[in-house]
Symmetry: C2
Subunit: 380 residues, 2 copies
């Protein structure tokens, strides 16, 4: 368990050092977050830090006010999740020295549970109609199969895929390169609000922070690490989406690309990727085949529920009770039976799915049958 | 050396058995072409043959008239090339029991030499404008780099790629599923005539024979085996082009696919292939990278000329002499200096290239410099 001092220090570090700063990452690993935070405040030179960097840490540490940041986050409906929390997605530890100090999170669902069954779909901001069409098809298809779609809430492919996921009542996580209370890009403010309301909006930067070019690149490593695989829909040579995909490959995640016309500059980057480590995917079913098919090779599902039913929290247990014993049901119906709001019910359903209790098939929900229940499990 | 009786027997077998007939292939392997032909005439049952097949062989053997076929071929400007001939492309032996009994060939160049540096480009008959555009770009690019383009002279992708190759003064081989004197499809008669005039037109079937559905499929194995790799431009699921590509993969050749919009049914087959053994290619340079780059990994080139200069036949030697000692030259110029026709000169240039004496770069020809000449070889 982390102590309160540790959380406080990690909140401070999101102000003191840039995301992915390996000097600070090493300090946190070697002396803990509290030690690193104390060193920064004291102007102590950390291993690997030059004079300028040390001075920078000290200046930013002097200005940092973790209490004010936590209060501002609270007003924006955000919480701070960090290593040691039950909600921390352990796969981010794969980032090593670049592991986030913590994540600012808006949205009701459990980040850890949602991320278990997630896939990233990213692509060009200035996508073509073709790219938008493919992104929308993927978002819709992944949502209908119960996969959580992760993207950057940007213009173009990111926004399209997250909108289509929400339209299909799917689960989506927006990973932003700003504070989670700063809607960026401004034109996507409505989408970003909806993601925070119905899904999860997460970011490494403290409240009020604005994105910079390097922050977009660093944000991409979180998208890559959080998910089981990354799909690139349209991308020019040397674009940020390719950085995400290559990072995903380095992290041992599946990288996938949606091919397009060779005559389109926006498919060039994808084709380049496909000539390397990435796999061709043309629809959601092919993506799911790559990241792990429901009921076959996804660990929590194969073993049946990973938690005994009576360890579920009360809200989740109520939703689980609301599912019919036979057949399937829609969200509205389940929400009514559980006496909960539709959005809250949906969030719980995705959690219950990650825990192996329920499954989504073509937009409807049903209980997963396990041998332990004395019922046969449905073949995947 | 093969005897005249052997050639006569192989000519007869192109009438007696279907291309790729493994029963006949085994008989030829076990008792030689003359033995197989004698057995067929005698109505002898071959190992693996049922009564019906044996009767079929006998009926067709009784009607076969190798002398008449050779005479008809001669009138159509065709020759018969079979295993044992210096012009026989040894890579066809990889077909094992399905090796052709022989090939009917129209065109001046040496089939063996041209096939050494060849790549197949195949695709849908009913291709889209996009497919036609990509096929034309590939044909043009491969021709400019001195690669020999092999295809089926069919409507759609095949015809487009061979036309664009000819337009760039490139070398092309048409592999037909009919007699080489039967222009099929009729609408491509002019193209087929031009291929025979300026390139090579080859087929397994004797003069006058018409294609059938199964003959198209069997023809594809020759395209796959003859070349270093096969590129599929557009193909529906379960189309003939995929058969060619899969056969190429089985034979250890490189299989490649040109991606296209996922929204197009004509790219579905290609994408399916790309999800398996095939590699994404988007232009001629990427194809060449896969099948072996000029001057780097192509065996005859790396070792310099494979024949001493004074073993070249007179026509080839004259063309070689006509190349400038320094710099490059166009075909017209070389043809003038050699005192030969342009088409004949081109054919010789492609042969000289296969033998490692010359190279084509962006449509112009130059001598390959070798250490043996006391000149340094140009880096690939």
């Amino acid at each position: 368990m982390r102590g309160e001092g540790e959380v406080w220090a990690r909140v401070a570090l999101t102000r003191v050092a840039d995301p992915g700063d390996e000097v600070m990452g090493r300090a946190v690993r070697e002396r803990g977050a509290e030690g690193a935070w104390a060193a920064a405040r004291a102007g102590e030179r950390l291993p690997g830090a030059g004079e300028q960097r040390t001075a920078g840490y000290a200046v930013r540490a002097a200005r940092a006010d973790p209490g004010a940041d936590l209060a501002a986050a609270g007003r924006a409906g955000a919480r701070f999740v960090c290593p040691g929390d039950t909600e921390w997605p352990g796969q981010l530890d794969d980032l090593g020295l670049q592991r986030p100090y913590g994540l600012w999170v808006r949205g009701r669902p459990s980040l850890r549970l949602w991320a278990l069954r997630s896939v990233a779909v990213v692509g060009a901001r200035a996508c073509t109609d073709y790219g938008a069409h493919m992104a929308a098809r993927l978002g819709d298809g992944l949502a209908r199969s119960g996969w959580v779609v992760v993207s950057g809430a940007a213009y173009g492919v990111d926004g399209v895929v997250q909108r289509s996921t929400l339209r299909a009542d799917g689960a989506t996580i927006g990973v932003v390169a700003s504070g989670v209370d700063v809607p960026y890009p401004p034109g996507n403010a409505e989408l970003i609000g909806e993601i925070a309301e119905r899904g999860l909006l997460i970011g490494e930067l403290p409240p009020g922070d604005h994105p910079t070019r390097s922050r977009f690149v660093l944000r991409n490593r979180v998208i890559a690490a959080l998910t089981r695989g990354t799909v690139v829909v349209e991308a020019r040579y040397r674009s940020g989406s390719l950085v995400t995909a290559r990072r995903a490959a380095e992290l041992g995640r599946v990288t996938m690309g949606v091919p397009g016309p060779c005559t389109s500059g926006l498919s060039e980057g994808v084709h380049e990727l496909l000539r390397g480590e990435a796999v061709v995917v043309t629809d959601a079913a092919e993506v799911i085949e790559m990241v792990g098919e429901i009921g076959t090779d996804l660990a929590p599902r194969r073993r049946g529920p990973v938690l005994p039913r009576d360890l579920l929290d009360r809200a989740a247990a109520r939703v689980l009770e609301a599912l019919p014993g036979q057949g399937d049901a829609g969200e509205e119906e389940i929400a009514r039976a559980a006496g909960a709001s539709r959005d809250d019910t949906l969030g719980r359903l995705y959690e219950l799915q990650a825990l192996g209790f329920v499954e989504r098939d073509n937009g409807r929900w049903k209980l997963v049958r396990t041998a332990r229940d004395g019922r046969t499990r449905r073949a995947g």
